[in-house]
Amino acid sequence: MSGLTAELLLITTAQDLSRNIKKHVEECSEKISSMINHLNLLDFWSESLVDTPTQVILKEIGYDLLSSIYISTNGMYRNAYISLRSAIELGIGFFYFTDHNYDFLEWKRNNFDLTWSRLKDFDKGVLSKKYLSLFNDKFNFELYIELVSNIYRECSEYVHGKYDYMHSTDSHRILFSKEKFNEWSNMFLQIVEVIIVLLSVRFNEKLGDLDGFQLETSNDIFRKLGFMELIIENEY
């Protein structure tokens, strides 16, 4: 005779899911390492912006991204995209609140709602020529706006449960899929990259605090996305 408890159910199925993690680690280790490196660079920025009141938002983004790694390596890809969308929203939102302190204070008290259309607003938003040219007049803001808009649009498809993007249309089991993971991790990387780009532009003076490795990783990101004007000359 035996019985099934909630505890046994949860623990057994968690073991199942952890087998997914193992598969990811075996077959996608380079992608995972890339994500970890990117995340650590973002984390470094979070720590160094200690004097910025909005620092807490940047930390939350790090947490979102970190947890999304666990979610996706368990095989729950669509849900991992939802975390990514939160990360990009908060990511751009971070810059908004950094430079709109009053709105930030209201937001902390739940009196202000930050919408994507506000972030994109050409006059008051972050994804605008007006804002993005404030810090570096060589910055290719058009390219940046295009990249971020595409990211947001893609992630939103998952969040809104668009039919083609649902988990259930494919299979009912929570299974490892290298293809899905690769697609998801590319999005993960892009999101961290666009945040790093804007951090480097907005907080230019902090670039001096990056060590040789971090500078080179940043340069790789600039090169990859096409922001050659941001490349930092480096002894290495």
Binding site: L207, G208, Y236
Partner: protein, 552 residues
């Protein structure tokens, strides 16, 4: 097409695009295969011939095969290898080079995800610090730090510091040097990470004009070799004729060049253009295939010159008038301007740079054109772009030719060819330069190219009268101090740092580059709110400003 759309230097190509832009000839494939072997290799070619591209493609192929082959390929560029303080201190230069190599290795290991150096964000949410205790990456990082510090500070006790990371318990009976530690560390790394073999690819391996650094580099190149390590270096021509290199002749030398007479030559050059040109533009060029081919021959197989000259011509209508003016503009002015600039930066070489230009323009080109015109008038097919210099010509003459080689104006065609019992080196002149001396380059181009014969050339003997005004040249004459003096006087106002930082460092007496470079990073920290990392950054920026000057 915008000039920014063309990519002239391989370093500017994104990794993903590399293979898209790469056009391979048979020789290129042979070179790449050789790069992947265990044997030491020197890849020789003047600027713009494609050495970096070959190294990068080889690196990518080895990276892609890593899972199976476990061969780790590390690319190291010594572009910024001019180290003011250590110019007369070879030991420190050596330590600096090793530090740079290890840094590149650490980066590659991390990038490939083979090891992780710090807990980062995970350490914030989980207890993972203990996983990093005694990690091989910590050891590597400490070693790098010690080498860097040692190479910068004269009174740094290297031996003492290194003992602590390599845990030497016994007293020094043997004096171990950096290389011994280096090799021990490499063994540990290879074992830990399961690496079969490491290949170091050195790009811009030694700057042509600093002999002491060349010697140091080649010594290191030889000493790095082990059962686990193979070294390959991309160098400019003329390097191998330095006495210092001849001692280490166990490296194979392979040239990067494209043989004009190869049946695939035109199609390969056309492919290089096609990968970098918009389809409509390329079609326009292809419609005037003959004119396109003249531009291709003019570049004499050098992709950089090819792309630059194509860009110049594609902005106007692609017809013979404009192609003619392009050839004349580019090969009379542009290419020579770069060459002359060398003399302005390296004052010690200026006389040779200028003599080389005069010798080529006023003597060699004249003799060459005369031979070609005579045969043309006589209805003979033979044409030439070749000349030969006696092996025992004055060293200064040979050095002047080497500088021309470096610029891509001439290139070695055959070393050590026998002429009337004497030994000569035969060179070929860049075809564009010859064409540019004509009224209408396109008119003579076909005949020139079709009639090329290495049997026809002008030779300049051991004591040719044309050498009479060669300036004196000796290694000691290279007076870097002049160049350095000028650079050290550049005021801090020109540095790419924030105004805030500028005010801070000026406040503690740093007014010029010299103040910063002759001082110490620590000194910079005396300025308020300039902590160690910022000081490092400012120091690096000062270095790089210096680099800009030297690399011209």
């Amino acid at each position: 097409m915008n000039i920014d759309d063309y990519i002239f230097r391989t370093e500017d190509i994104k990794d993903e695009e590399l293979l898209e832009l790469y056009v391979e000839s048979k020789m290129d494939r042979e070179n790449i295969n050789f790069i992947k072997t265990k044997a030491p290799l020197l890849l020789v070619g003047s600027r713009g011939t494609g050495k970096t591209m070959l190294l990068k493609v080889a690196e990518k192929e080895m990276d892609d095969a890593f899972q199976e082959e476990r061969v780790l390929c590390i690319f190291i560029s010594f572009k910024k290898a001019i180290f003011l303080e250590t110019i007369d201190d070879p030991q420190y230069f050596k330590q600096w080079m090793i530090a740079k190599i290890l840094f590149a290795m650490k980066r590659k290991i991390e990038k490939k995800g083979l090891q992780i150096s710090h807990s980062g964000i995970f350490g914030r949410y989980f207890d993972v610090e203990e996983l990093l205790e005694n990690s091989i990456m910590n050891k590597l990082q400490s070693f790098i730090k010690i080498l860097e510090s040692s190479s910068r500070k004269r009174n740094f006790d290297f031996r003492q510091k290194i003992k602590s990371i390599f845990l030497q318990e016994t007293e020094d009976i043997e004096v171990l040097n950096e290389l011994d530690y280096f090799h021990a560390l490499i063994e540990d790394i290879c074992e830990e990470i399961n690496i079969n073999r490491i290949v170091f690819l050195f790009d811009e391996a030694c700057h042509n004009f600093i002999p002491s650094q060349q010697r140091e580099f080649f010594t290191l190149f030889r000493d790095l070799r082990s059962s686990l390590i193979s070294c390959k270096a991309a160098v400019y021509p003329g390097i191998t004729s330095y006495g210092t290199f001849q001692q280490f002749h166990d490296a194979t030398i392979r040239r990067v060049e494209r043989d004009l007479h190869d049946p695939d030559f035109i199609s390969i050059m056309r492919d290089i253009i096609r990968t970098q040109t918009k389809e409509e533009v390329y079609k326009k060029l292809e419609q005037h295939g003959e004119l396109l081919d003249y531009l291709i021959y003019a570049a004499t197989g050098n992709p950089r010159l090819l792309l630059k000259s194509i860009h110049l011509s594609s902005s106007k209508n692609f017809n013979s008038t404009n192609v003619n003016s392009t050839i004349k503009d580019f090969y009379r002015n542009n290419i020579w301007n770069e060459h002359t600039k060398l003399g302005e930066i390296y004052k010690g070489h200026k006389k040779l740079v200028d003599w080389g230009r005069d010798f080529l323009e006023k003597i060699v080109l004249v003799d060459t054109n005369e031979k070609n015109e005579t045969r043309f008038i006589e209805g003979k097919k033979q044409q030439t772009i070749y000349f030969a210099i006696h092996r025992d010509a004055p060293e200064a003459v040979k050095q002047a030719i080497r500088i021309l080689e470096y610029s891509g104006i001439v290139s070695i065609e055959t070393e050590g060819t026998r002429v009337r019992g004497e030994v000569f080196d035969r060179y070929q002149i860049n075809i564009g330069i010859i064409l540019s001396t004509a009224q209408s380059p396109t008119t003579i181009a076909k005949h020139l190219v079709q009639g090329l014969s290495v049997k026809l050339y002008t030779d300049y003997g051991m004591k040719s009268s044309h050498y009479h005004n060669i300036p004196e040249f000796s290694e000691q004459q290279i007076n870097f101090n002049d160049v350095i003096e000028r650079v050290l006087e550049i005021p801090v106002d020109f540095l790419d740092i924030s105004d805030y930082q500028r005010i801070k460092i000026k406040s503690v007496g740093f007014d010029t580059l010299g103040d910063i470079l002759n001082g110490d990073e620590d000194d910079l920290q005396r300025a308020e709110q300039i902590g160690p990392k910022r000081a490092r950054r400012i120091y690096n920026v000062a270095y790089n400003a210096t680099m800009e000057y030297f690399s011209g």
